[in-house]
Symmetry: C2
């Protein structure tokens, strides 16, 4: 029997409700495949601020480091929005990414046939869309120095952030992207703004150089403004996309929205070694928290990504993913993905249906 | 009789063909309304590189400065893509923006009923969409210092760009945006990434402070990732959007693409005083250049924006815009906006139809 230590970070809002379903699914599939999960819970985001005054207590980071993988739900809420920056939930999330050196963020956006009508795009344009955005997660504008709000000589304030990448930083995310493309459709589109930004020029040069090591991958380049347009115009042209932190934030959300159901989308954040963090793309939805209304499926699919990318247990991952498709096929829907002719269920009922499937 | 000096910058690719139609339209409408245009042509982009080795010769900048408004077509082409950065067509465009201090870029995205089926979004979601993106154009990541590719102590290269805004830079674009919103639907959405970037925090603080001077405008804020999603999900929620240079590049292109016909979209770039630059959103389309296939309507609508925002001649602007709607109503279409049941025409024929309308 294979044993795994999993850190659970329920975070805020609907987090605790949806992570409970994911934990239950993991236990069920684990029992079937002789995998044992030892779960330990830790605080992050608003919940951590309330308890400790810090959105990412050192103890949480240590617990994560001591585990095989981290399952995160969601952070944030109106309550903490006006706190100073270093005390905000988001700062905890950024600290987790930096602290675990999670430089590679995988964000799949796949149209599920059962939910295709939820897309704002015409059916024929999104049918079969299956995009993986590989976003750099520990560099670029999010972490570049100098940053801050400074007073200039003339007494006015100047806000500054720095977009910066070194060659090794580009290479390591580039390699993850090429390898991801190899395992998918074999096409990689690198997105930058090399016609304006020097940092993008370096990005493009390095990605182009790496391509020599991956002759089986077809590489293309797009400027970020054009990439955003092309995602909206004809998303089927994309297979794997690789881009920097800030562009990836935007493009992965566009790709997610094409599916029309961001309540269904998981993500994985990986480092070179050490535990990865797996979390849904959606937020903490404080408005529906604690009412048994949340959609737990993105959290379950995040657990599947954990099994696949974090623990190398593809069979278990497949089972969770099949179960999710199964409940959709049966017609179960939470409020966010409801459509005529389907059966509206709450978070717990959705969990029960999943366990049935499993 | 009112006399205007207009600098024409045909640039590259289809530029000369489409600017010819716009010039013709201006003459026609000018004759009707007793406006005289004195046109002077100057070089920019690839055309300028070929002739002078410089994408923005000093003479061009001077000619522009000495005129009442500048009508630009489009720049760029594969031919110049591999030149060093300081010799690229884009560098000429950025130099023009900086040289004329064109800090305010207005990019309307309006769904035309005649072309609604060209949108990749479902009809009911885009019907009536009418968005104005006000993009800051001379600051932020495009111009911030330091920038470049530097060697670090360990001998690896590091690409660097700086996103920077001072309070006065934010205030002046903010005021343009509030005033634009006042003349439109009265709603302004400011887009930033204040949960991560300090420069965005300053942006949000200043825009919020300015709101006090515009009690008739309803101000909201969105993070850029969410704004991109919302544009794709439900674009009708937007009236006027204000944002920084890099975010504006991306968001204005998304908004443009929602219309499904970026061949139809004009833009205006304005400074505090001095001439503005008016140009279509689309590129130079080198693949169809010189074949009488280009769509001149965005260029004509750019001339209309020039009349409205640059020369304060709203009646003349209305006439050009009505003429464009008129030819569409008659069913004339260039290849890029063709649909079943319409009449395919070339660039010149489209021009002839326009003159008929006028
Ligand atoms: C919450 C925020 C800091 C975060 C980001 O910008 O990375 C989120 O938008 C995301 O994409 O994970
Ligand atoms: C050509 C390029 C430099 C330019 C920009 O990025 O501003 C273009 O994309 C635009 O939006 O006008």
């Amino acid at each position: 029997t294979q044993q795994y230590r999993i850190t659970l970070l329920p975070g805020d809002g609907i987090g605790p409700e949806i992570i409970a379903i994911a934990t239950q699914s993991l236990k069920t599939v684990g029992a079937q495949l002789d995998l044992t999960f030892e779960f330990q819970e830790a605080l992050i985001g608003g919940a951590a601020i309330e308890a400790t005054g810090n959105p990412l207590p050192e103890e949480t980071l240590q617990t994560c480091r001591d585990s095989d993988a981290v399952l995160l739900a969601a952070i944030g809420g109106y309550k903490w929005d006006s706190l100073p920056r270093n005390l905000r939930p988001e700062t905890g999330l950024l600290g987790l990414r930096a602290g675990l050196e999670l430089f590679a963020n995988l964000r799949p956006a796949q149209i599920l046939p059962q939910l295709i009508d939820a897309s704002s795009l015409k059916r024929e344009l999104v049918e079969g869309v299956d995009i993986m955005v590989v976003r750099e997660l520990t560099g670029g504008a999010y972490f570049g120095q100098p940053k801050g709000i400074f007073e200039t000589e003339t007494g006015v304030k100047r806000g500054v952030n720095t977009i910066a990448y070194t060659e090794p930083e580009i290479d390591r995310i580039g390699r993850v992207a090429f390898e991801t493309a190899q395992k998918r459709g074999g096409r990689l589109c690198s997105v930058d703004k090399a016609n304006v930004l020097e940092v993008s020029q370096l990005w493009r040069d390095r990605i182009s150089a790496l391509a020599e090591d991956y002759p089986d991958v077809e590489l293309s380049h797009l400027y970020v403004d054009n990439a955003a347009m092309q995602l909206v115009r004809a998303p089927k042209q994309f297979d794997t996309i690789v881009t920097s932190n800030l562009f990836g934030d935007i493009l992965s959300d566009i790709a997610a929205m094409l599916t029309g159901s961001i309540g269904m989308l998981p993500s994985a954040s990986l480092g070179a070694s050490g535990p990865g963090v797996f979390e849904p793309v959606h937020g903490s939805a404080p408005d529906i928290a604690g009412q048994d209304l949340a959609n737990p499926l993105a959290q379950v699919l995040s657990a599947a990504m954990m099994l696949r990318y974090g623990l190398n247990q593809p069979t278990a991952a497949d089972r969770l993913e099949q179960a999710v498709l199964g409940v959709l096929e049966q017609g179960y829907r939470t409020g966010d993905i409801q459509s005529p002719g389907t059966t509206l269920v709450g978070c717990k009922e959705m969990g029960d249906a999943l366990m049935q499937q499993l």
